[in-house]
Structure formats: C-alpha cells, structure tokens
C-alpha cells in the first residue's frame, strides 16, 4: 500500500508539470495581456512594468523562473492585476472561503443523498421511493444558477431572513444559501447512484443468505449491504469533493462570496497570468490528491482490491 501511494505521488509530479506547461501555453496564446487596457500605456511605462513582472523575458524563461520559484520558495509570484497582493496571499484568503462552504455542501450532499438513496432502495417501489426519486430528479434539473436566485427571492426578498449575498467572515447566515445551492444537484446525483447500487446489492446472493439466516433488516442494510453499495458512490465523491471545494463560479458570482471560483474566472478575463496559474496548480494538486485518497478508500472498503 505504502509503495502504491509513493508510486502514485511519483506519477503526480510529471502530471502537474504537464498541466503547468499546457496551461501556460494556452494562457499565452490568448489575445491581450495583463496590461492591455482601454487607454494603452505609453511604451516606456509599459516596458518598466513588464520588466518588473519579468514579461520582457522569453516565454521559456518565464516558465522556468516560475517553476523554480514555486519549487524553491513556494512562491507563486505577484498578481499582475491586484498589484499589492501576491498569488499566495490571494489563494490564502480566497481558498478558505471556498473550502468552508464546499465542505458544508459536501457534508449536506452526502448525508442527505446517501440517506435518500438507501431509503428509496430499501422501500423499493413504494411511495417513499417515488418521493425520494422525484425529489432527486427535481433537484438535479434545478442547476445552481436557477437554484441560487430562487433561494434569494424566497429567503431574502420575501421572508427577509437571510442576507442576499456576501461572506462577512463566513457567519452561518451567509453560508446557508450558498451551501444549499451548491449541494442540491450533487445531492441528487448521490441519491440516485446510492439507490441503484443499493438495489443491486440487495438483490445479490450474500444478502439473500443473510436474509435466510434470519438477520434483522437493520443489520443486513448497515452491516452487509451499505459498504459494497457505497463503492460507486465513493468513485463519484472524489472528483466531486475537489469540484466543490475549489469553488463554483456560479455560487461565487451569485453570492459574491469572494471564493476562488470567481477569482479564477476574473483572473482569466484580466489575463492575470500568475493567479490563473496558481489556481490551476491548486486544483491540479487537489485533484491528484483526492483521486489517490479515493483509491486508498477502495482498498479499505473492498477486500478484493489490493495494491
């Protein structure tokens, strides 16, 4: 197992390197640069700025300097747009925001999704099943950019219970709507995956054996059926978790949370090269890490899988 993890981490380094080179090239190919503006800068002023940010050097040199900076000092450079802030700084302030509402959404989505899925499967073809399936389908067809304004209309404009956006240090009032809006469609997917995989497990031989032995339903479901039924759910959860904690542009945009999803998009629009790269690398690292964690979890859940 330990060897497996090491091997996977070894593969991660070239993967990230390719990601960096590829993103860097794409970014440089996009027309316009960080200092392109409506009122073009005088050439001498532009030259001074480009020299300060190293943009006067050839591309390969910029790239190697950048990578060396990260590897040796963990320094992702200064933002080209927000000139008195570094990328490390921007991520350090934006990522915790995204992480906070992402984790809460994840917990909500998993708890409600898995519960709904199990209930629906156990009470297969009953009204409970239909309600749960109906609920998850409607949650799925309500994307977060529809969900968010609906929530705001209800909770902010009509009921006047919750603020319509902002973060304000992440107090709970500011968390509720982003968490619900982000969680719903994931919740629905989790419920559907859990339900179908649970159904499959419940119809398998070892469950029939358990029933034949006269085990109580509770034990059958939680002790024997749940673990194998969760395997496909966990496959889904790895990338989902990364997607949720690295920020949803829609949620950030709609609720003006200041999370990194919005920063990522704005950085792309502003051609804020260092911020684009920084967030891309962060997402890359997290994706590699969580995929690895999912694989480790597999081995723990399914005795058949051994590395």
């Amino acid at each position: 197992m330990f060897k497996f993890i090491l091997k996977r981490l070894g593969v991660a380094i070239p993967t990230l390197l390719i990601l960096i080179i590829f993103s860097f090239a794409l970014m440089k190919l996009a027309p316009g640069g960080p200092f392109t503006s409506e009122k073009p800068l005088p050439p001498q002023v532009l030259a001074n700025i480009e020299a300060k940010y190293g943009l006067d050097q050839p591309n390969y040199k910029q790239l190697t300097n950048y990578i060396v900076g990260i590897v040796t000092k963990g320094d992702f450079g200064p933002s080209f747009r927000y000139k008195d802030r570094s990328v490390n700084d921007i991520i350090a302030q934006g990522f915790p925001i995204t992480l906070k509402y992402g984790i809460w959404s994840f917990i909500l989505a998993v708890l409600v999704g898995v519960t709904l899925g199990i209930i629906a499967a156990v009470k297969h073809n009953s009204w409970i099943d239909y309600t749960a399936v109906g609920f998850s389908i409607s949650a799925q067809v309500l994307p977060n950019f529809v969900m968010a304004p609906i929530l705001v209309i209800i909770f902010t404009l009509w009921l006047n219970l919750l603020p319509g956006g902002g973060w304000n240090g992440g107090q709970w009032q500011y968390l509720v709507m982003p968490v619900i809006a982000l969680a719903t469609s994931y919740m629905a997917s989790i419920a559907r995956i859990t339900r179908s995989s649970m159904l499959e497990v419940l119809n398998s031989n070892f469950i029939r054996t358990a029933k034949a032995k006269g085990l109580p339903n509770r034990v059958i479901i939680f002790k024997h059926a749940l673990k194998p039924a969760l395997l496909p759910v966990i496959t889904y959860l790895g990338p989902t978790f990364v997607a949720m904690i690295t920020g949803s542009v829609v949620i950030d945009m709609y609720f003006s949370t200041g999370g990194i999803g919005q920063m990522f998009v704005n950085a792309a629009l502003n051609r804020d090269y260092s911020v684009i790269m920084g967030i891309t690398i962060l997402m890359g690292v997290l994706t590699v890490l969580f995929n690895l964690m999912v694989d480790v979890l597999y081995a723990w859940i399914d005795p058949k899988i051994r590395y």
Partner: protein, 545 residues
C-alpha cells in the same frame, strides 16, 4: 510615450477652467441646519470588481481611486461641484510664469500613526511615482504634469532624486516645471499624486497597504480587506478635519453582476448600486426618491475603420454619414437604455465644462429627414437592394452593448438594406483586435480624463494612441494643436465637432449618465454635479428617516 504625453498636455494647456486663484472654502460634510442625522452612519456600496490597489502610486482603476481618495489626501481636493478646495495644502502660488509652484501645507495634517504630514512625504511619493522600479502604470502622470526630469527618470536615464520637486522646509513644497502650466494645481487632485508614508512602505514593501500595516493621511483608514468580497474603511481619528466628518464606516462590496447587486440593494444591504440598462423607468416609478440619473463625462460611439485594413465602403464619406443619420439615437436612449442618457450627435458631452454643444446640421433635422437623407446618400454611394452594404459590427461582450448593437443593425437593415453581422468579443480580445484595426465598425466608450473638451476631441487627431479608426484630418490636427495656446479654445472645439459631423469618422450614439439606486438617507449629500464623479466619503452624511 511622446504622442500620448503631448496629447494630454495639449488637452490641459488649452483649458481655462482650472485656474482657480481663490480657493473655495474647505469642505467636509456640510450638513444643512435643522437636518437630523441618522444614528448609523455606515455607507455601503457596490463595486463591480475588486480594486487594483490602494497604493496611491500604483492604483489605476476607478474603484481603487475611490478608496485612495478616502484613505489618503493630496494637496487639493474637489468639492461637490468639481471645484478645487484645499487638502493638505492650505494655499499655493505660481511664479516664474507658471513654471514654479509653491504649496504651503497645513500644520495640523497627520498620518494615522500620529506622525505629521510633511512636504517630504509628497517629494517621496512623487519620486516614487516616476521611479521605474515602482513600475507605476501612472508614471506618465509625472510627465504630463511637466515635472523637471520626469521623462528622463521614467526612461531610467536620471535618478528619481532629480525630479523637479523639493521641500525647503516641512510645510513648503516647491515644484519646478518644464512648461508653463496654468492648471497645474488641479492635477494634484489625482490619486497618483497623493503622499505615501516612506517609513511604512520601506518597512513592509509591497505588503504595506494591507490592513494592519497601512498608514494613511486621509479621513479613513483601511481596516478590513477580503479580496473580491469587501473592503472596509473606518474613521481616522488623526485626520485633521475628523471633527467635521460624519460617515463613520464605508463598506465596498464586490458584486460582479448588477442584477444581483440590485436585488441586494432592494433587500436593504446596500446604500448605492448601479441600475441595469433598461430598468430605470420602472425603478423610478416605484422608488422615485432613490432612483437617480445625472450626466457623466462619457460618450458612447461607433468607430469606422478608415485605415487601409478597413472596408472600402467606409472610405466613402456618404456611407459613413448614411449610417450615422439612419441610427435613431432616441430609440437607443429612450427604449433600450432608458436611463436618462442623452442622444449624441457630437463626441463631446454637453456636461463638459466651458463647452456648449455646437449646432451641427444633422442634429437639427428630424429623424424622418435624416432617414430620407441617409437613403439618398446610400443610393448615391452605389448601395441598395441589389448591392447591399455588408459589414461587421464589433463590440465587447455585454448585455447592454448587445442591445444597442442589435437595434442599430436592425435600423440599418430596415432603412438602408445593410447586412450587418454582429460580433462580440471578450474585453481583452476586443481591445487587442480594435487596437490593431482588425474591424469594420467597432464600439467605443470614452470617459474624460479631465473636465475639458480636448479630453474627447484629441482622440480624433492623427497621432492619438486612442484613435482606433485611424481617422486623419490635417485641419483637425491643426485646430487641436492651436487650441493648446489659444486663450479661448472653444471656437476650435466647435469647428472640430462640425468637421466631424460632416466627415463622420465616428457615430456618436449617446452621452452617459450615472444611473443609480441610492438610499434616500444619503442621496441628498451625493455630489451629482461633479461630472467626473470624484466623491469623498467625508463629504457625505446620512439623514435620519
């Protein structure tokens, strides 16, 4: 560099508006007698995007400058009408034929750490602005201010310490210029000329503007900043005029989408937000005291690409005129935007100081007359049903620009049979493409850098770096260059507008208005008459409702 510098200098030299020998009285919040102030003096407003910086010598965007004007104070300020009022400087005098300026500073001005604000702080800040190591996007401002050695310092040929500014004592600032600038003092209201605290900048480096590190000399200090979410500034008890400041706390919330911002305004979370295009009339009806619209120093226009890479058809004046005539501006302002915008037939807005919109011929015609004339012109240029005019209309991606472009294309199709393809591009791509003359007809928007007509009309001169359509007319160039030395350049501006109304290098569409929803408590103190919208929180106050 030279071109842009020259153009801007040209604009300022000709102006007469800025010479203010007697300063208006010092302003802070001027609360009329009998007005009861609200208990909570917090002003919360929406900003479209995160500010670029709050470092006076680095800031370059509008929302950042708004913060800097609150956090720092320069030599002079503007009042609600845009006139000069004292700031850190109590008085100034010009000598040596307007080539030397001497500012006398007030002795009670303090930094937020209690240190006195001295002339040396300005010397440091100005040298810092010009220093190539600072790499300020506004380094050129020292050049257009004509400070001695500014250009050489920016180019790296001289040391920053050689800049033409000195402090003979702590409360006297002497500036030496290379050209006589009668309006020099007015330029010190620009955020990039505000002082910065040398000790703090040197101690913290690029982190000096973070809350906790930052020391400033304005009415407010920065107390909180969550990038892309909010920035909070609170009263600076050390500010010399803190006693007359009313607003205690100013919160800027970053909300990218204006419709979302409007929802949050309606939920009572904001005191000010922009009104999305088209929604002003309904909001005005529902909230008559909160929906406001006032003129701004900005113009919206379409540029014809008349360079070699532009379409052949646009080299024919008749085609340009026809397209301009056939565009019904009233439909755009009254049915599309509906925010009180002014239909434009000239480039310079009517709200510009010392400028009256000249009577250009096509502005006086009725739309029916213009349409008839447009058809005639098109036919004589050889375009019609069999040979339709075809071109692309390029604009940067935005709902409002799309709406305007759509109605424009429809009008040209219906009235002139022109086949217009709408093309939208993301902002940076758009700037790049437009700057390279890779377009037929492109959207343009221009806000004045200062309140004088040349800030607009200089765009139409051959050397202008902002002349995207590459229009060139020797007479316009001459008139604009003469305007620099004329005692009253208004005749030149009128003539240039007349030439443009005839040659039609651009289609002026409308003059912008600031269209806001503003809390009734604060709307009374908002400087609606300041067309540059240089506002200072210390001049605002909230009345009890």
């Amino acid at each position: 560099m030279k071109n842009i510098t020259k153009i801007i200098v040209a604009g300022l030299v000709g102006s007469t508006f800025l010479v203010a020998p007697v300063l208006a009285p010092v302003l802070a919040a001027q609360v009329p007698a009998g007005v009861k102030l609200a208990a909570d003096q917090t002003f919360t407003y929406r900003v479209l995007d995160e500010h670029s910086s709050v470092d006076p010598q680095i800031v370059e965007d509008v929302s950042g400058s708004e913060l800097v004007r609150d956090l720092f104070e320069g030599l002079l300020n503007q009042n609600a009408a845009g006139e000069l009022v004292p700031g850190v400087a109590k008085s100034w005098e010009a000598s040596n034929g307007n080539k030397t300026y001497t500012f006398k500073l007030r002795k009670d001005a303090k930094w937020s750490n209690g240190d006195p604000v001295v002339a040396g702080d300005f010397v440091y800040a100005w040298q810092r602005l010009a220093n190539p190591e600072t790499a300020s996007p506004y380094a050129w401002f020292m050049e257009i201010m004509s400070l001695e050695n500014a250009s050489e310092i920016v180019a790296g040929d001289k040391k920053p310490s050689e800049l033409g500014v000195s402090a003979p004592d702590d409360y006297t600032l002497v500036v030496n210029l290379t050209a006589p600038l009668p309006y020099f003092a007015a330029m010190t209201t620009h955020a990039s000329t505000f002082p910065s605290p040398q000790k703090v900048v040197e101690e913290f480096g690029s982190e000096w503007t973070k809350p906790g590190n930052i020391v400033s000399n304005g009415a407010y200090v920065l107390t909180e900043h969550v990038p892309s979410e909010r920035s909070v500034r609170e009263r600076n008890p050390m500010y010399w005029n803190d006693g007359e400041t009313v607003i205690n706390k100013v919160v800027a919330l970053v909300i990218n989408d204006e419709n979302i911002a409007l929802t949050r305004y309606l939920a009572g979370e904001l005191d000010r937000t922009e009104v999305p295009a088209g929604q002003y009339p309904s909001l005005k009806k529902e909230y008559p005291n909160q929906a406001i619209s006032f003129p701004k120093l900005c113009s919206y226009y379409y540029s014809f690409n008349v360079s070699d890479s532009g379409p052949e058809a646009f080299k024919d004046k008749r085609v340009r005129q026809a397209l301009s005539y056939a565009l019904d501006r009233n439909v755009v302002t009254e049915q599309v935007l509906k925010g009180g915008q002014f239909p434009a037939y000239t480039f310079t807005p009517g709200s510009t100081a010392n400028f009256t919109i000249p009577d250009v011929a096509y502005a006086k015609m009725s739309q029916a007359e213009r349409d008839a004339k447009a058809k005639e012109l098109m036919a004589s240029a050889g375009y019609g049903a069999e040979n339709p005019l075809k071109f692309d209309l390029l604009y940067n991606t935005s709902e409002a620009h799309k709406k305007v472009a759509t109605v424009a294309a429809q009008m040209w199709k219906q009235k002139l049979g022109a086949e217009v393809t709408l093309a939208n591009q993301e902002w940076k791509v758009f700037l790049e493409v437009r700057g390279k003359q890779d377009f037929d007809l492109a959207r343009g928007g221009w806000c004045g850098d200062y309140n004088e007509a040349s800030t607009f009309l200089d765009l139409m001169t051959t050397p202008s770096g902002y002349n995207d359509g590459k229009y060139s007319n020797a007479e316009v160039d001459q008139l604009m260059s003469d305007a620099k030395t004329a005692s009253d350049p208004s005749a030149n501006y009128t003539r240039v507008e007349e030439i443009m109304a005839d040659e039609m290098p651009i289609i002026p569409v409308y003059h912008y208005t600031g269209v806001y929803m503003m809390n009734e408590a604060i709307v009374g103190s908002w400087p609606v008459k300041n067309v540059e919208q240089n506002w200072y929180s210390r001049d605002l106050y909230k009345v009890a409702q």
